[in-house]
Symmetry: C2
C-alpha cells in the first residue's frame, strides 16, 4: 500500500478521514488545520502529519457554505480585450491574492445588458464583494445600484451614476500632468482630442482639460474634438487640427489609441512629432511603448486603484458610507513630447529605446543575433 502525498484517484479525503486516522474529533482537526482556535502543540502536529500523509485537501466550497463567505471577489470589466482593462484585471488579481482572495472575472463586452447578466451570475455564486468598471454611465446605474443593495460593491476607474463608492484616478491631475509637462517643453498652444463615449472617463478628462485651459491666453480651451476612443478618430483629428488650428504645437489625447492615431496622422501630413507638434496620451498601455515615436502617457496607479478598491470593499461591511477615492496618476515621458537636443549622426541605426520611459527595462545590450536551437 502506498502512503504518499501523491495518492490519486481515491475517494476524496475529508476532515472526517483525518479525524478517524488520528483518533481525534473533526472539530480538533478543523481547528488544527485552520487555526481558528487554540489546540495543543502535540495535536496540531499529529493532525498536520496525518493530513499530509493522507493527502488531505481542504474543500473550499464546503468551507464557504459553512462560514458564509467565499473568499472570492467578482470583477466586471467593460472589455477584457482592451489593454487597459487587462492591466487592471491583472492588478486586481495580484492584490486580491495577497489577501487570499480569488478573482472571478467577467467580461461585459461593452453591453449593459450583458453586464447585468454578469453581475447576476456573480451574485448567484456568492462572491463576497464586487468590483465593477461600468460599461455605461447611465445604463449601468441600475445594475450597480441593485448589486450594492445586496453586497459590498465598488466602482473602479469608470463609474455609473449610482450611489456606490468610486475608486478613480484624479482626472484633473491626469490632464494637468500632461499640460505642465508640455509647457515645460516650451509648448503653448494646445488642443484636446477626446471621446464622446458613455464611459465616465471620457467626460471627466474633457472637463479637466476645459477647466485647466479656462484662462489660457492662446484660447486652448476652445480647441476640443470629441469622437471615439480609437486610433482612427485620432487620425482624423490630426487632419482637422492642421487645417483648422495650424498654430497648435501640443495635442493632449484622452487615451493612447487616440494619441497613436493623431501621431500617425501628423506623420502622414509631413508634420514631425514631436518637433512640429507634441502629443500625449493617457493610460500608458502597451501601445505607448511600442509605437514610434514612443508616446508620452499618463499612467493610472493600477495597483493603488486595486488596493483602494479592496479596502473599500472590506470597509463596506461595517461602515455604510459611500465614498470617492481619487488617486494620483504618473507621467511617463517618452518620445512624442520631447524634442531631441542632440542631433545624432545618421550613420548607425537610431536607438529605438530612447525616451522609452525610464521604468526598469532590461537592457538589450548585446544585440546578439543567435542562430536558432529551440528546445523540445
Amino acid at each position: 500500500m502506498h502512503v504518499g502525498s501523491t495518492s490519486v484517484a481515491n475517494r476524496k479525503v475529508t476532515v472526517r478521514d483525518v479525524a478517524r486516522h488520528t483518533g481525534l474529533s473533526v472539530a480538533s482537526v478543523s481547528r488544527a488545520l485552520s487555526g481558528s482556535r487554540p489546540v495543543t502543540a502535540e495535536v496540531a502536529e499529529i493532525v498536520l502529519a496525518a493530513a499530509e500523509e493522507l493527502g488531505y485537501q481542504p474543500d473550499h466550497l464546503a468551507r464557504a457554505l459553512s462560514v458564509g463567505r467565499t473568499s472570492t471577489v467578482g470583477l466586471v470589466v467593460p472589455d477584457i480585450t482592451t489593454p487597459f482593462f487587462s492591466m487592471l484585471a491583472d492588478a486586481v488579481e495580484r492584490v486580491l491574492r495577497k489577501e487570499g482572495l480569488a478573482m472571478l472575472l467577467m467580461n461585459a463586452q461593452n453591453d449593459p445588458e450583458w453586464e447585468r447578466e454578469c453581475v447576476e451570475l456573480l451574485l448567484a455564486r456568492r462572491i463576497d464583494g464586487l468590483m465593477i468598471s461600468p460599461t455605461h454611465q447611465a445604463k449601468s446605474a441600475r445594475t450597480v445600484q441593485e448589486a450594492a443593495s445586496r453586497l459590498p460593491v465598488v466602482q473602479i476607474d469608470r463609474y455609473a451614476t449610482a450611489k456606490v463608492t468610486r475608486i478613480i484616478t484624479d482626472p484633473l491631475q491626469t490632464i494637468a500632468l500632461s499640460v505642465d509637462h508640455l509647457r515645460e517643453q516650451g509648448r503653448s498652444t494646445f488642443a484636446f482630442v477626446g471621446a464622446e463615449s458613455s464611459a465616465s472617463t471620457a467626460a471627466t478628462r474633457l472637463r479637466a482639460y476645459e477647466r485647466l485651459m479656462a484662462d489660457d491666453p492662446n484660447g486652448s480651451a476652445a480647441r476640443v474634438l470629441t469622437g471615439r476612443f480609437t486610433t482612427d478618430w485620432g487620425y482624423e483629428c490630426s487632419g482637422v487640427i492642421v487645417e483648422r488650428w495650424p498654430d497648435v504645437d501640443a495635442v493632449i489625447c484622452a487615451n493612447d489609441l487616440i494619441a497613436l492615431g493623431v501621431i500617425q496622422g501628423f506623420q502622414a501630413l509631413r508634420r514631425d512629432v514631436p518637433t512640429d507638434v507634441a502629443v500625449t496620451g493617457c493610460d500608458d498601455t502597451l501601445f505607448s511603448a511600442i509605437s514610434r515615436p514612443t508616446v508620452t502617457s499618463v499612467a493610472q496607479p493600477l495597483a493603488g486603484l486595486a488596493e483602494a478598491a479592496l479596502e473599500a470593499l472590506q470597509g463596506q461591511s461595517q461602515d455604510e458610507t459611500t465614498k470617492l477615492v481619487s488617486l494620483a496618476p504618473t507621467l511617463h515621458i517618452r518620445g512624442s513630447s520631447v524634442t531631441q537636443r542632440r542631433r545624432r549622426t545618421r550613420t548607425s541605426m537610431p536607438d529605438k529605446r530612447s525616451f522609452n520611459g525610464a521604468a526598469g527595462h532590461r537592457s538589450l545590450a548585446s544585440g546578439k543575433a543567435r542562430a536558432s536551437a529551440p528546445d523540445e
Copy 2:
C-alpha cells in the same frame, strides 16, 4: 467583507422559505425549480409564483456542494496582459457562458512557480475542469500532469510536455499561410524571426518554417533568427537582416510584436515596407491593425480553440484518451505584405485603412473610421 447576511430584514430566501410559503415540501420546490423530476403543472406554477414573489435566488454554492459540480471552469494563462491571451480569455468566457459555465481566471504571470499555485488554488475551489496555456514547456509539465490526475484538464494554445490533451492552432498551416501569400505576392527570399521562448509556440512555428523552407532554392531555411517575442527583438533583427542577408524580400515573424519591431527597424534603415521587404506576423492582435503600415497576420481561431477545449474537457469525464486537436488559422492580409499598384497622388491625406484586412472582416470600404476599442 460579509455577504448580505448583515441586515436582518434582508435575510436570504431559501427553498425552505418557499416550501413553507406554499405549504409544499422542500423536495417539491427543488424539483419544480430545477426541473430535475416531474411535478404537477399546478405545483410548478405555485412554486414559481412563490419563488418570484419572495425573490428567491438559488444559491449556487449550496447546489455545487450538493451535486458535486461547480459549473465553473478554471483558465490559467501565462500573462493576461498579453493581448493574445486576453483575447483567448474572452473567447473562452463566451463559449463557457453559452453552456452555463463560469470562468475563474488566473494569471500565471509567466512564472511556473506561481502557475502551480494558481492551479492549486483552482483545484481547492473545486472547478469542474481546467484549461491552461502553460508558461513553460518543461517547467509546467508536472503541474499540468498532476492536475490532470485530479480533474479534466486541457492545454490550450501552448502546451507542456505532459500527457494531457492539447488544443492548438496548426503551426504548419500558420506559417504556410504566410509563405504562400508572400510567394503569391512575388516574394522569393525569406527570413524568419522567432523566439527562443520556453513557450511551445516558439518552437513549433520555427520548426514549421524550417520544414516549409527545407528545399527552398534560395536557401531561406537557413535564414533564421530567434530571440524574444518582443518589438525590440524584431527591431534588432531588421538590422541584422539588412546587413547579413540584403537580398531578403520577405520576413515572417513568429508574432505580431516581432513583426512590428521588424517593420520599424526597416523603416529606420530607410527600407520601405512592403515595397522593399514584406513582413507578416502571427496571432492577429490589436497591434497589427493600428500600426502603419498595418501588418498582415495569421489569426488563430480563438472561438474554435475555446469550443474544442470545452468539448475535450467534457468528453474527458468518460473517455480517458489524450488527444491532440489542431485547428486551422486564417490569414488577415494587410498593408505590410501587399505592394500597392496604384500610386496615389499625395494631395489628400492617405487613407489609413487601406489593406485593413480581407477575409471575413466587416468592410471598412467607406474609409469611415471605425474599429472600436473603447477605453478605460
